[in-house]
């Protein structure tokens, strides 16, 4: 978990929409095998940063490296093929399609029907709901159930890196716990997880590694515990700002 050979590396990433830059130069490494959490206040650019990974937003400057392959300029489809899947913030199931059809679409890039069936079986073992509600329309599931089906769908490609954008958004505390447990489980079965979370404390508790984003820049990074116990992080979430000199600033990226 701690071997930080460059699995996913952000290198001077600057990105935004239209005129303004939301991400103003971010450098850090996501180590292979663990759960990495990006936290930060609203509008700090967390979601935008994730979108640069999946190819939904193209960085204006900088580069992203995934196991030595540059990602900037690749389409979401090409990035998927490299083994990176993203579950977006908003519910992204196709509501009019059945749960099973949705999950099968997760393997859209796989042509072999046998392989798809095998993976479906495997995914169903982790997510029993896929079998239980197989024929139901995805739109009829509760928010938490939809999240689980989205997770199931994203595993159909057997990705190396799973990118989750606020997976707990809009969920009640009980479902939230289930979703977090599932994320841990996905990690346990061999997926590296990179996630953005608004429920920072809970997310940090299960993260091996964490970075704090503020105003489009990296302000803190360390292990999940270090960031969680940092006295300044509370201030950040109460609307304050971290002072320039942070005691554990960015050990992973030499540039900062």
């Amino acid at each position: 978990m701690t071997e930080s050979t460059s699995f996913l590396r952000f290198e001077g990433v600057v990105a935004g929409y239209g005129g303004g830059d939301v991400i103003k130069g971010v450098d850090f490494d996501v180590p292979q095998g663990g759960v990495t959490c990006i936290v930060g206040p609203n509008g700090s650019g967390k979601s935008t940063l994730l979108k640069t990974v999946s190819g939904l937003v193209r960085p204006r400057l900088g580069q992203l490296w995934f196991k030595g392959t540059p990602l900037v300029g690749l389409t979401p489809r090409e990035i998927l093929k490299l083994g990176i899947v993203q579950v977006p913030q908003n519910h992204s199931l196709f509501r009019e399609m059945s749960v099973q059809q949705n999950v099968e679409l997760g393997a859209f890039l796989v042509k072999d029907k046998k392989v798809i069936a095998e993976r479906l079986k495997h995914v169903t073992e982790i997510f029993p709901i896929v079998a239980e509600r197989a024929k139901d329309k995805a739109g009829s599931l509760s928010g938490g159930q939809q999240r689980l089906v989205e997770f199931a769908r994203c595993l159909m490609l057997e990705p190396e890196l799973v990118v989750l954008d606020e997976p707990s958004m809009g969920l009640d505390p009980k479902t939230l716990r289930l979703v977090f447990d599932t994320i841990k489980l996905m990690n346990k079965v061999g997926r590296t997880v990179l996630l953005v979370e608004q429920n920072a404390r809970q997310a940090l508790r299960m993260s091996h590694y964490a970075v704090v984003l503020e105003n489009g820049m990296l302000r803190l990074s360390g292990s999940g515990k270090e960031v969680l116990n940092n006295p300044e992080i509370g201030a950040l979430y109460l609307g304050g700002s971290i002072k320039e000199t942070s005691s554990i600033a960015a050990p992973a990226s030499k540039e900062l």
Binding site: P76, Q86, S92, F94, L105, F108, L109
Partner: protein, 285 residues
């Protein structure tokens, strides 16, 4: 009444193309009307100058219009981006419409023509009335094409990628669907159906390039009533429009057939702004 159901299916075919284009691409294709007429003229040329049967000619006209669709999409539609896409598309497709209309007027003159074949002239008795065979053949054609379209959409991998793009473009891209390619093919398909629609339309009506205005207003009304982007809605609304018009024409007066339909449209839209089968939040930018 009966011919209402029969022609309704042809309108459904043309409207399905329009609603498919809107649903996947958020593009309102004002040129759909003139493309139907283009399809009719292509059939006209093939039958008058080359002696090719109207139905056989579809083997040429359907792929031709598919290519027209693909070219228009690549040249113009793919360049429309951002939140103003839908409104920009109305202007761009209207411009395309005017160019095609002008060209058709120049090539074919403004005199109205009608497609000829034995099944246009000969009639068959059904429920005590005589209907030209073309109504029946056109109906069968529309049913066959619509069925194939539905099988393609609901039973194939490519169809799944279209439906996924219809529902949510970002989510579709994130499972690896090439939304740009799906859009291009959808635009091609949406236009290709006008070849068949145009042939049947041209065989059952006298037309010239200006007929497209009546057509596009009807087609737009159909997809608005059915719910923008809803395929089933387009089917039902098309049959409703034509049948309602015919019933009113028979029991009341032909003068009131169109107004009645628009009256129904206003009522439906005031109760269900998203149309009969539209999604709750209409995705119009």
């Amino acid at each position: 009444m009966l011919d209402g159901v029969l022609t309704g299916s042809v309108y459904a075919l043309m409207a399905t193309g329009l609603t498919l284009i809107f649903g996947v691409m958020n593009i309102i294709n004002i040129a759909q009307g003139i493309l139907v007429i283009l399809g009719a003229y292509l059939s006209y040329t093939l039958s008058v100058h080359f002696g090719i049967d109207l139905f056989v000619g579809l083997i040429i006209t359907i792929p031709t219009l598919f290519v027209v669709g693909v070219v228009v999409e690549r040249l113009f539609m793919a360049r429309l981006k951002g939140p103003e896409r839908t409104s920009m598309s109305i202007l761009v497709t209207y411009a395309i419409s005017l160019i095609i209309e002008g060209s058709l007027n120049m090539i074919y003159s403004i005199n109205v023509v009608q497609l000829k074949a034995w099944y246009v002239d000969k009639s068959f008795p059904i429920f005590g009335v005589y209907l030209p065979y073309i109504y029946l053949f056109g109906f069968i054609l529309a049913v066959v094409l619509l069925t194939s379209l539905y099988i393609m959409l609901y039973r194939t991998r490519f169809g799944a990628s279209i439906r996924a793009s219809l529902a949510d473009q970002v989510a579709a891209a994130l499972v690896g669907i090439n939304v740009a390619r799906v859009s291009t093919i959808c635009f091609g398909l949406g236009i290709a159906v006008t070849a068949a629609g145009g042939m049947v339309y041209g065989a059952t009506n006298a037309f010239n390039a200006s007929t497209s205005y009546d057509l596009i207003s009807r087609l737009l009304t159909i997809i608005v009533l059915g719910g923008m982007g809803s395929l089933g809605g387009a089917l039902l609304a098309a049959i409703l429009m034509v049948t309602l018009g015919d019933v009113v024409a028979v029991v009341w007066s032909p003068i009131w057939s169109s107004p009645t339909f628009f009256f129904v449209l206003v009522i439906v839209l005031s109760l269900r702004p998203q149309g009969l089968f539209g999604k709750q939040s209409a995705r119009v930018a």
